[in-house]
């Protein structure tokens, strides 16, 4: 995974997250009788899986990112009750991860992308001002999204980024699953590896 430098001072994560949920009154309203009805939704990895009770997944799957209050509340509740973090840390992470859209900045280029074993994106790179690898963001095939997520949930990632004061409620044994990728990726479309 890309290590997050503890000296990195984050740009305003909360402001970035808030920018993703402003309203636009000119957007057309959803039609109620269109041909297809949504049954599943996904953007950021392992957010529903980690934070939200299984019983709520189907409801979240049938909503839009603008309707992520259930998911946001689940994140804050999990952080406070299961992970034992303080209110500031819990609320901050809920604000960063909702609305649940994978952020990428297409005006940026990823240096080294296309070279052997070089990433072509960085999970949460936009939200952290590049602390996870680059400011293009998105998610590369080999990003260790689990360790990045666990670091934010159980480690000191948010405090290290200057988002919130350190609550000193870290759980070191849970900040990594100790698993790395088993794959490498080439520079030829479609990039994914042929099946086992």
């Amino acid at each position: 995974m890309h290590r997050i430098p503890t000296t990195f001072f984050a740009i305003a994560l909360g402001a970035l997250a808030a920018a993703g949920c402003s309203t636009n009154s000119s957007s057309p309203p959803p039609q109620q009788h269109a041909a297809y009805q949504q049954i599943e939704r996904l953007a950021r990895p392992a957010v529903k899986e980690v934070f939200e009770n299984f019983a709520n997944h189907d409801q979240t799957n049938r909503t839009t990112p603008k309707q992520d209050s259930l998911l946001q509340n689940s994140i804050v509740t999990f952080m406070e009750t299961d992970a034992g973090r303080d209110a500031a840390t819990s609320t901050a992470l809920g604000g960063i991860l909702t609305p649940d859209e994978m952020q990428a900045d297409l005006s940026k280029s990823v240096a080294g992308c296309g070279n052997p074993n070089s990433p072509c994106g960085a999970y949460l790179g936009v939200e952290t001002g590049g602390a996870t690898g680059d400011t293009f963001g998105g998610r590369w095939l080999n990003d260790d999204v689990v360790d990045i997520s666990l670091g934010a949930i159980f480690g000191n990632t948010l405090a290290a980024l200057g988002v919130v004061p350190d609550d000193h409620h870290e759980s070191p044994c849970l900040t990594t699953d100790n698993v790395g990728t088993a794959q490498t990726y080439g520079a030829t479309f479609p990039y994914v590896n042929t099946p086992y």
Binding site: S22, Q38, E40, Q103, C173, F189, P190
Partner: protein
């Protein structure tokens, strides 16, 4: 469970296999694999992961990828394909308002690996929100065609089998949070306060458990169906975007 108990690192040395459950021949696992009963019953509509990255072969291009249909063993490679009842969509928010401004849609025709897949967009959606209609058709591709011949609007799209890129000690995760495993519904057990992720070296000063960890998906050689679409960054506005993916059916089931 409180953090202090989680951090206690009590070494509950359980066989990883103990957390692996068999359902229709497939163990439960995932980043977003098998996250509701709806998609467990319709695995072709089950989105496991989303990726957004610069194209390794062209810095001016962006790649949108969603993986679906979790836990395909080698033996099922000639059988499992996209679900012809499902509309697959990438939704792209180009102005930060939380509403899709562009959609890229895929709809298979026919069941099984001989199916073809119609591609629609990327273009502005006809409707936004949880209801969808298909936009103007761009072209048609075949399942498992890795050539990536450009469609008329210049985008390249691949739909086919691939090794699951996700890596995680899933079995351990389900021991920590048994509620997240659908196999435990509707009466899930509480979080286990005595379990942490394992695999630290013996003698680690943190006192964490030392039983080896395991990447569930690669160690069991599971595949997914990858939907990979490459297009010029300018086609999506060339600035900051927010991406999510959906699957939809006409029945809502």
């Amino acid at each position: 469970m409180h953090k202090a108990r989680l951090a206690g690192g009590a070494a509950v040395v359980a066989a990883l296999a103990g957390a692996i459950f068999i359902y229709l021949g497939h163990p439960a696992a995932g980043s977003d694999h098998q996250d509701s009963f709806t998609v467990v019953n319709r695995p072709g509509a089950d989105i496991t992961d989303v990726f957004v990255y610069q194209a390794p072969d062209n810095a001016n291009n962006v790649v949108l990828q969603m993986d679906v249909f979790p836990l395909i063993p080698h033996a099922a490679l000639g059988t499992d394909a996209l679900d012809p009842a499902v509309l697959y969509q990438f939704k792209i928010d180009t102005n930060g308002d939380g509403v899709e401004d562009q959609v890229l849609q895929l709809r298979p025709t026919g069941a099984g690996v001989n199916q073809s897949i119609d591609v629609f967009g990327p273009s502005a959606p006809i409707v936004t929100g949880t209801a969808s209609r298909v936009v103007k058709k761009t072209g048609t591709i075949a399942f498992n065609d890795r050539a990536g011949s450009p469609l008329p609007n210049g985008i390249k799209v691949f739909v086919g089998d691939a090794k699951d890129p996700f890596f995680f000690d899933l079995a351990r995760f389900f021991q920590i949070l048994p509620d997240r495993d659908y196999q435990n519904q509707p009466n899930p057990g509480p979080p286990d306060p005595g379990i942490g992720f394992q695999g630290f070296s013996v003698g680690n000063p943190s006192g964490c458990a030392t039983t080896p960890s395991q990447d569930f998906l690669s160690s069991n050689q599971f595949n997914v169906i990858a939907i990979v679409a490459e297009m010029p960054k300018s086609m999506l506005g060339g600035g900051r975007i927010g991406v999510w993916t959906t699957t939809s059916t006409t029945s809502g089931h």
